[in-house]
Structure formats: C-alpha cells, structure tokens
C-alpha cells in the first residue's frame, strides 16, 4: 500500500460458486482491483489468456478439471502469481498445488484481510526488479550481500545450512514454502524425504532468531504444509 500502482491491477477469480465469486468481486473491487471471473477451469484458462491478470485466485475444486490441472496448464505459458483457495483438511491438495507452481494458499473459510495480504505478497514476488539488499522484519535484519544476520543490532552466528535456509525464507518472505521446496533448495533434490533435518534446523533458527522460541512469530508453521517467514511479526 506504500506504492499505489498507476493502473488498477487485474485479479482473475476462478471459482464455481457464484456466491463466492460475488463476494470476492465486491471485496476485491473495494480494494482497488479490477475483477474478471470464471466459473470453470477451461473458462478460467481462456480468461487468463485474454485479460492478462496480475494475480489469479484459483479454487481447487472445479467442475471440469482439478485446480492442480488448471495450474499446470497456466504454468505452461504464464508466470502469473496464483493464490489457491482450498478447504481446510486437504493438506495434500495444498501441497500438490504449491509444488505445481501456486504461489500461496488461503484456507476456506477465510478472512478477506488474510486473502488480500497473500495477494499482495504474491504480486510483489512476481514483479521483476532488483532484490532489496537488506531484509528487515521486527528485530531481525538480514544483509544478503554481506551475508550478515543481526538481531536487535547484534550479529548472530549461523551455520552454513542455517544461513542458506534463512536466505531462502528471506527471498520468499511472506510466502509459504513447502517442506519439499525447502529441502530441494537447501539440501538438494536427493534430500526430499529428510524432513527431520528441516525440523532440526528450523528449531535451531528459531532458537537463535525468535524472541521466545517456544512461541515463534517469525518463522511460523503452516500445519502439514510447510513454513512461512512473516514480514510483519
């Protein structure tokens, strides 16, 4: 909200529930989006090609094809940020969508504030431009160029793995990262099942970076899916 875009961003809503589409339209238009909507997967892909949206809100349960299929088709030609809408108890669906290229997810029923925040993060990461050299969140300061991590101004010693884990989080600040995504980036493609490494190093990072490690506010757990680095802890 600090930088108001010159033109209204376009949001494409792909959801088969008319009531939900109506609600999202009201809510998004009130927050400065132009809204295009589609009631089915095929229709959504066509709409995405025609209206070139800045962000897509995609429901995973569609009548003609699954959300993941829509996502795969979209990703064949577009890098548009996609936020997935899903019901609470299908963690595997969320993970599949994220691994298929979704940028984030919101669980139904959702608060509009939460949805808007996710949309903003997704849009920002999709924008080309130089990465900011220094990341700040609360008392944490990460200087990616100098490879220095400071907490309340004091430098924190991290191991090489801890640092590459933190760097991955910083690069995707505000976005959810699945276990597999993190493991692939930090430990390599052969470590995809080694979740216990991830757990141990997350605990280490929290120990070193969180004010109260037992109640983490910086690196939060997305139950059954992965982790998220909060920008505004």
């Amino acid at each position: 909200m600090n930088d108001t875009p010159a033109r209204k961003p376009t949001a494409l809503v792909i959801d088969d529930e008319v009531q939900l589409r109506r609600l999202l339209r009201v809510c998004l238009e009130a927050n400065g989006y132009r809204v295009v909507d589609a009631a089915a997967g095929q229709e959504g892909i066509v709409a995405a090609a025609q209206s070139r949206p800045d962000v897509v809100i995609l429901d995973l349960g569609l009548p003609d094809m699954t959300g993941v299929q829509v996502l795969q088709r979209l990703r064949e030609w577009s890098r548009v940020p996609v936020v997935v809408l899903s019901v609470r108890d299908r963690e595997e669906d969320k993970i599949a969508a994220l691994d298929a290229g979704a940028d984030d997810y919101v669980t139904k029923p959702f608060g509009t504030g939460e949805l808007l925040a996710r949309l903003r993060v997704a849009q920002r990461h999709a924008q080309p431009g130089p990465e900011p050299g220094v990341f700040r969140a609360g008392a944490l300061e990460v200087d990616l160029t100098a490879r220095v991590v400071r907490l309340k101004g004091r430098e924190v010693k991290l191991t090489a793995t801890e640092y590459s884990l933190l760097r991955l989080f910083v690069q995707h600040a505000g976005k959810v990262l699945t276990h597999r995504q993190i493991l692939r980036e930090v430990w390599g493609p052969r470590a995809l099942e080694q979740t216990h490494y991830l757990r141990v190093y997350i605990a280490h990072l929290r120990e070193k970076l969180e004010t109260t490690p037992a109640e983490p506010r910086l690196i939060v757990t997305e139950s059954g899916v992965g982790y998220r680095l909060m920008e505004e802890p």
Partner: protein, 893 residues
C-alpha cells in the same frame, strides 16, 4: 406306556410335519389294486372338478393309452409339453419337470407314480419328480397300484409270481391323501376281456396270469388294507397332535438285521409290514465284520440300507467281529423288543466251529427280546452262498510270504536235522507258523500250517520222502502238530482281525473327535471353512467343495473360494439341487447319480446352510461305515455353520440397532448444533439490516462478532463431521513424518487460542524432546479437539494444562483440566461416537473425542481418559517410540 400325556418329541414331530405340509403341496393318490380299475379316469374327473372350482390345473404327464372316455376327460385341460429325450436310438418322453416348475400351476396331474424315468433324467424315478413338485408347493394328483408300493411288492410277487420292478418307497406316500379306486374283480376281468385295459404285447401272458380271479381278490384285499392302514396313520398323526392317546400303542420296537445277502431286502420289507401292523417304530442294523466286503456286496448292502431308510427305518451300523454279539448289542442299546433275522437256508458246517449257528446263538443269548426267523426266499439265496466264507480274496502277497517262510524254514530244518531230533524240527515249524499268523491273514497261515505238517512228515519223519508214518507216537505227534498249528494260526488271525476292527472303530471315533476339536479351535469364520474343507478332504480322501449361500437369504449357494475342488457348471447344478431340496444328490444317491461327486446338503433345523461336495479320489462310493462318519461330519458342520450364521445375524441385528440409535443421535445433535449458529447469524444479520437498529457502531460491532463466532462454530462442526466421515470410510491415512513437538504444540495453541482465552492455560514441554514421528496435521487436530473439549466442559477461569514429555521411550501429550472430572459411568464411553456425558453443558456434537481417538490410532498411538487425583480430568495421548532420526550437526561459521 401308561403315560397319557403326548410325548413332547412326537408332538414336535407332528408340528414340524404340519409346518412342512403348509409349505409343501398336497399329494393325492388315486390308488388301485391293478391296472385297468380306472385310476387315471378318476384322477381326470377329480381334476375337472378342481378346475371348475377355479383352480389352475395342468397335465404334467397323463397316459390315456388311447381310451376314448379317458381322452374325452383330458380334453381341455392344459398340458405342459413333455421332455423328449433319446437313449440308444429309442425316443423317450418324460414329464418336463422344470417346465412344470416354471409354469407354477396350483395343481399338477402326474400319472403312474411308480414310473422309472429314462436315463439322463434328473431323477431315476418319477415319484422323486413328484416330491420335488410338492416341495415347490404345488399340489399333485397321481395314480398308483398296490403292487408298486415298496413294502407290498414282495407280497404281490408271492401272490402273483410276477416280479415287480418299479416300486415307490412308502415314505413317498407319507402325508398323502388316498382315494381308493375300487372295482370288483369280475368287472375288471370283464374289462380286460373287452380289451379296455392297455397292456404291452410282450407282457400279455404274464399280465393274464396276473389277472387271475384269485390274484385279483388278494390284490384287492391288499389294496384295501393298505389304504386303510394309511388312513389309520393319518388318524394316528391327528391323535398325536391332539394328545389323545399314547403314540405307539404296542410299545414295540422292531429291529431287523441287514446284511449284503440278497435275502435281506425281503427281510426288510417283511419287517416294515410287521411294524406297520404293530404301529411300531423299527430299525435296521448292519453289523460290520472285520473282513472287507467286495464291490457287489457293498452295493447290495447300500441298496438294502437305502431300502430300509426309504421304508421308514432308522439305520444303525455297528462294528463287531461277531455278528450275534453286534446285533444283540445294537438291539439292547436301541431298546428293541423284537428282532428279525433271516432263517438260514442250509446246514452250515462251520456253525459248530463258531459255537452254534447264528440263529441258535441269537435265540439263546437274546434274553427278553423276541426273535423272528424269517425264511429266506428260494432262488434268491444261491448268490449269497456261492462264495467261500473266509478266503474273501486270495491274499496273493500273503501266500507268497507264507510259501517263502515255509521254504526257508524247511531249508533251515534240513541243516538242523544233523543236530536236532525230528520232533524238535516240528517245534521249529510251529514257531514259524505262529510267527506267520502275526504277519499275514488267516488263509496263508492255515495253508502254511497244513504245508509244514505235510513237509515235516514227508522230509523229516522216517521213512523219509513218504507220507507214511511208522510209530503210533509219530502219528500222535503229527495229528497234535496239525491241530495245534491250525488252532494257533486261526486264533492269531482272529485276534488280529479283532484288533483291526477295534482300530477301525477307534479311527472313526477319533476322526470325528479330531474334527470337532479342530472346528472348535477355529479362529474365525474363514478359518472354520478352511478347516472343514481340509479335514473333509483328508479323512475321506476326496477333493472338497463347500458351497455357501450369499449374504441375502434365498440366494443360491456359490462355491467357497478355498475349495479344493472347482465345481463345474453341471456339478454346481447338482449342488444347487441338493441345497434346494435338502437331500443328498450326485454319485451314490438317487438323484443325478451320473454326477462326478457326492453333494450333501448341510441341513440345520429346517434350512440348508450350504452344500458339501466331495469327489472321491478312489472313485468308488463310500463304504457304509465311512458314509456314516461322513453323515456325522456333515451334521456337525451344519450345526457349526448354523451357529455361526445365527451369531452373525445377531451381530447384524445389534449393529442395525446401534446404527439406528446413532442416526437418531446424529439427527438430534446435528440439527441442534447447526441450527443454533445459523439462527445466530440470521438474527444478527436481521439486526444489521434493520434501518432503525443498525445505527450505533457498538451494536454493529457486537453483531459482527456474533456472526464470526457462529460461523467459526459451524465451520468446526462441519470439519468434525467431515473428519468423522473420513475416519469411518477408512480414508484417514496417517503420513508420519519427523515433527518438532514444541512446534506442534505452538501451532495448536495458535489455532485454538481464542476458544481457550477464558481459561488459565499452562504449557509444559519437557526440554530436549527429540523429534517425534507422527502426522503433524492429524496430531494437531487431535490436540485441538482435546483443548476445545477441556474448554467446553470446564468452568471459565479454571486451569488447563497442556504437557509433553518422554514416556517409556515414546511421547506423551496430555491435556489436564481443573473441572469437575468425569463420572465413573462416563469414563469408558467418553471416546464413543456421539456419546455425550449426561451432565455435559449445552452444545457440542459428541464427535470431538471420537475423532481424537480415530486420528491418534491411525498414527499407531493410544489415547486414554482418566480423573486426576487432585480433581479434574486428564486426557493422554501416547505415541510409541520410533527409531531416532539421524541428524549430523555442524558448527556455526
């Protein structure tokens, strides 16, 4: 029998008969003394009356022999087309049983009850077709002459001298109505003379002999008496049902001794007549002797026993090496008062040897039991005595062994005679004979005894190489040797035979005992069926198929997959017949005897619970003794299966009741749980929408808060319902992964923080907890539900403690509260679906804790509830220990 009360067993039998009769069709027999009395005519006339009364009458099979009057009567009655079949170039037409069954009329006319069906028909005899029609609930009219009644056939043969080939068992007539079609003999003869009686050309002379006036009078009397006796039986059944008098007036029990001898059939019929006259129950006993029966004997015996069974006797087989002892034991065990045995036809030389003839011994030893000795029929006994008594089948191997031993011992004696006297050599021979008796059967032993006596005399007694014996001592010695050797051989062989018989009997008892024990040890139903198939196959050396009906009642049985014999389509048809009619079918029975195997229905009470089919590896039918064991097996299997079926039905009923209760609870609980938040939301929305009330910002705030809370509650309920459904349908699969317990607890608290705001929450996580292997999402849901449960059931302001620690190498997560605790009767049921404690506060679906249980158990853990010593309840989740994760640590850079 002075007891005037109806015998409960007889009453039960009467009731069962009545019940069976209600379902079965009724049989009406138009009964006559001879062909030509007008039975078919009378039957057709009666059928027309029935048809006039509006009943659906069809002709299944009627033979009018082209008589005009009869043809006229048959005119207009619908006819089911006959089943044409060809056998060795001869065209035969029989009643099409299946077509009649498919047509399902109310009444079927089937002529000539005693007719023998052509080869390839389902049943060898038409009366069996009729019984099947009756079993299907169809009424049947049929015709029958007295000469064709099994128990009268012998008498008719004696009267007329004409052998009767086609007979019907007396049991087939049980429960039938009789209409006697009578004609004075003179009129019948007049009709014969007028050519009104159809007779095949070939049989004409014999038949004319049959129609002699004397014969006809006797036959007429016989028919009248049989019909009268039959009516008498009906009266008896009625009296029994109404407790009018003691059922067996005479208090007699007859027992007939049956053997493979061809005379036995006549004995059986004789006994049946006597039993009928005395109105006494009767039994047939067969004493199995140690010596094996050859094939024709076995089949004759099987026929005799089947005859006795058909005529209504109870069959008993027993084993003994002495016929007399066996018969008398059976008679005493069965409380028989009269004994029927065959009168020996000639002088039997060996009777003296055995201690008198069988008959004499029976009479001497029978005590208070009356003995009837019935004369065996001339001409029939010849076959019985044409074979030697003991040398059943030349035991070739035994003779060779005996010959070998004798030769060897003779050689030995030739050597020994240089040192021993010839008398000692006799002892050596004797020793060899006694030893032989222990190895081979009686025949070779006796042969060896004779041979050694002669050899001894010939080779070792002076003068050598002659059979001449010089001194009186030597003659004495020779005779003594001969007698002693024979006696030793005989006695030893007999001892062995006794032992074998004993062993045989024991084997049977043991087989049954082992089978029962095996079945009792079956772990479950599938195991039980597997044992049945395995044991039946082992004991009877057969391939076994077990067919069981599907779940639904009334469906045909299908072969059980573990069967060792894969039933072909044809055999399945036979099995199905056995199942439907609750009667044995296939090989060795009267029904479809051409089948490959024997199909025995497993009958428990009034219904068949399955079919046991056996294909014997030996190919030959079973010996009566084996068949008896098989019958015992089958009875036992039926009982066990029926018990199992009842148990399952009971369980089904229980489940049904339970599911009804559940759905009722579900409806009550869910309707309340869903409607409440919906009511809140609509109410709040109405408030917001009203132009007057929606004014103040504070009220708006409250309304929005209410809506949010109600929506949250609805969302949780739907979540719980969905989780429950997933659990029930088995769709919950834990995906265990290494988890940080502190993280798990933190995430859970983050989710449930709002609902726990009014309680004093403390978290106690033991330091240094290792990673635990569990499904993060499932465990988080379980913990959330425990916390929400604590929040809902304890007063605001009380403490709630969430703790995690290592326990027995595993992980323990506990939620403790400071509420009132759980009443003792609630504790064991607290994790049940939809169970709500009687004093529970309003709200809650009764699902939360059952989901906890489901989710925890899906991960291989356990959950328990208890009351704390200091008050309040504690819910504990325990996860078993897993292998520790291996994480290489690195130093900080």
């Amino acid at each position: 029998m002075s007891d005037d009360r109806p015998n409960p067993e007889a009453l039960l039998a009467a009731i069962q008969q009545r019940e069976a009769a209600q379902r079965r069709g009724r049989l009406k027999v138009f009964f006559g003394m001879a062909p030509g009395v007008g039975k078919t005519y009378a039957m057709l006339a009666a059928a027309r009356r029935e048809r006039a009364a509006g009943r659906d009458v069809v002709i299944g099979y009627v033979e009018t022999h082209g008589r005009k009057e009869t043809d006229a009567l048959a005119e207009g009655l619908p006819v089911v087309p006959r089943h044409e079949l060809e056998h060795r170039g001869v065209r035969l037409s029989e009643m099409d049983l299946d077509a009649v069954l498919a047509r399902r009329p109310q009444l079927v006319l089937v002529d000539e009850f005693a007719h023998t069906n052509g080869p390839g028909s389902r049943h060898p005899k038409r009366c069996q077709d009729v019984l099947e029609l009756l079993a299907a609930g169809l009424d049947v009219f049929t015709t029958l002459n007295v000469q064709h009644v099994e128990s009268r056939a012998e008498v008719v043969r004696q009267i007329t001298g004409v052998p009767i080939r086609e007979t019907v068992p007396d049991t087939a007539l049980n429960g039938a109505d009789f209409e006697l079609v009578d004609l004075p003999p003179e009129e019948l003869r007049a009709r014969l003379a007028a050519g009104k009686i159809y007779l095949p050309e070939s049989a004409r002379t014999a038949q004319e002999h049959f129609f002699r006036p004397g014969n006809l009078s006797a036959l007429r009397e016989l028919a009248l008496r049989f019909a009268a006796e039959h009516v008498g039986q009906d009266v008896l059944a009625y009296r029994q049902a109404h407790g009018i008098a003691d059922p067996w007036k005479s208090g007699q029990r007859l027992l007939v001794a049956v053997s493979p001898s061809p005379t036995s059939a006549a004995l059986v019929r004789w006994t049946r007549r006597l039993a009928g006259e005395l109105q006494a129950p009767w039994l047939a006993v067969y004493v199995e002797l140690p010596r094996p029966l050859d094939e024709p004997e076995q089949s004759r015996l099987a026929r005799h026993l089947a005859l006795a069974r058909e005529l209504g006797a109870e069959i008993i087989t027993t084993t003994d090496d002495d016929v007399v002892r066996g018969i008398l034991r059976a008679a005493r065990e069965q409380n028989a008062t009269q004994l029927v045995v065959g009168k020996p036809a000639g002088w039997q030389a060996l009777d003296l040897w055995r201690g008198g003839s069988v008959l004499n011994r029976l009479i001497r030893e029978s005590g208070c039991i009356d003995v009837h000795a019935v004369r065996a029929q001339e001409g029939q006994t010849v076959a019985a005595r044409s074979r030697p008594l003991h040398f059943a089948k030349p035991d070739r191997r035994g003779y060779l062994v005996a010959l070998g031993v004798v030769a060897a011992v003779t050689g030995l004696n030739a050597l020994l005679q240089h040192w021993l006297g010839y008398q000692s050599l006799a002892l050596v021979y004797l020793l060899s004979v006694v030893t032989l008796a222990m190895l081979v059967s009686r025949g070779p032993t006796l042969a060896a005894a004779t041979l050694t006596a002669l050899l001894w005399d010939f080779l070792f007694v002076k003068p050598y190489y002659t059979f001449w014996i010089g001194g009186a001592t030597d003659v004495m010695l020779f005779l003594t040797y001969f007698v002693v050797a024979l006696a030793m051989g005989h006695l030893t062989a007999r001892l062995r035979a006794q032992q074998a018989a004993e062993r045989h009997r024991e084997e049977r008892a043991t087989a049954l005992y082992l089978f029962t024990r095996e079945l009792a040890g079956a772990a479950d139903y599938a195991d039980l069926l597997a044992i049945v198939i395995r044991e039946a196959g082992r004991v009877f050396a057969a391939e076994v198929a077990l067919s069981l009906p599907e779940e639904l009642p009334g469906t045909p049985p299908t072969p059980y997959f573990a069967s060792t014999w894969a039933l072909g389509e044809k055999e399945q048809g036979v099995a199905l017949w056995a199942f439907r009619h609750r009667q044995p079918a296939g090989r060795g029975t009267d029904t479809l005897p051409m089948a490959e195997g024997l199909h025995l229905p497993l009958v428990a009470g009034e219904r068949a619970v399955g079919v046991l089919s056996l294909r014997f590896r030996a190919g030959a039918p079973l010996a009566p003794a084996q068949r008896e064991v098989l019958d015992a097996f089958v009875r036992h299997i039926a009982l066990v299966l029926d018990r199992e079926r009842l148990r399952e039905a009971e369980q089904q009923a229980k489940l049904l009741a339970e599911s009804e209760r559940l759905s009722q609870t579900l409806l009550n609980s869910i309707s309340h749980e869903m409607r409440t938040p919906i009511a809140v939301i609509t109410g709040a929305v109405g408030n917001l929408g009203a132009p007057t009330a929606g004014g103040t910002a504070g009220l708006q705030q409250t309304m929005v808060g209410e809506i949010q809370e109600a929506a949250g509650r609805l969302n949780r309920l739907v979540g719980n319902l969905l989780n429950m459904t997933r659990l029930e349908s088995g769709h919950v699969k834990a995906r265990p992964d290494w988890c940080d317990v502190a993280d798990l607890i933190q995430t859970t608290l983050h989710e449930t923080g709002k609902e726990l705001a009014r309680h004093r929450l403390t978290v106690d996580v033991a330091p240094g907890l290792p990673l635990a292997r569990l499904d993060f999402a499932l465990m988080q849901q379980a913990l959330s539900n425990l916390l929400l449960n604590a929040a809902a059931h304890t007063p605001a302001g009380t403490p709630v403690q969430l703790s995690a620690r290592r326990d027995d190498g595993g992980l323990t997560l506990a939620v403790a509260d400071g509420g009132p605790g759980l009443p003792a009767e609630v504790l064991p049921r607290v994790f049940e679906k939809f169970y709500r404690a009687p004093n529970a506060p309003v709200g809650g679906s009764g699902l939360g804790l059952s989901i906890v249980k489901g989710f925890v158990e899906a991960q291989g853990g356990r959950v328990s509830a208890a009351n704390r010593a200091g008050g309040g309840a504690i819910f504990t989740i325990w996860m078993p220990p897993g292998p520790p994760p291996n994480v290489a640590e690195e130093a900080a850079s």
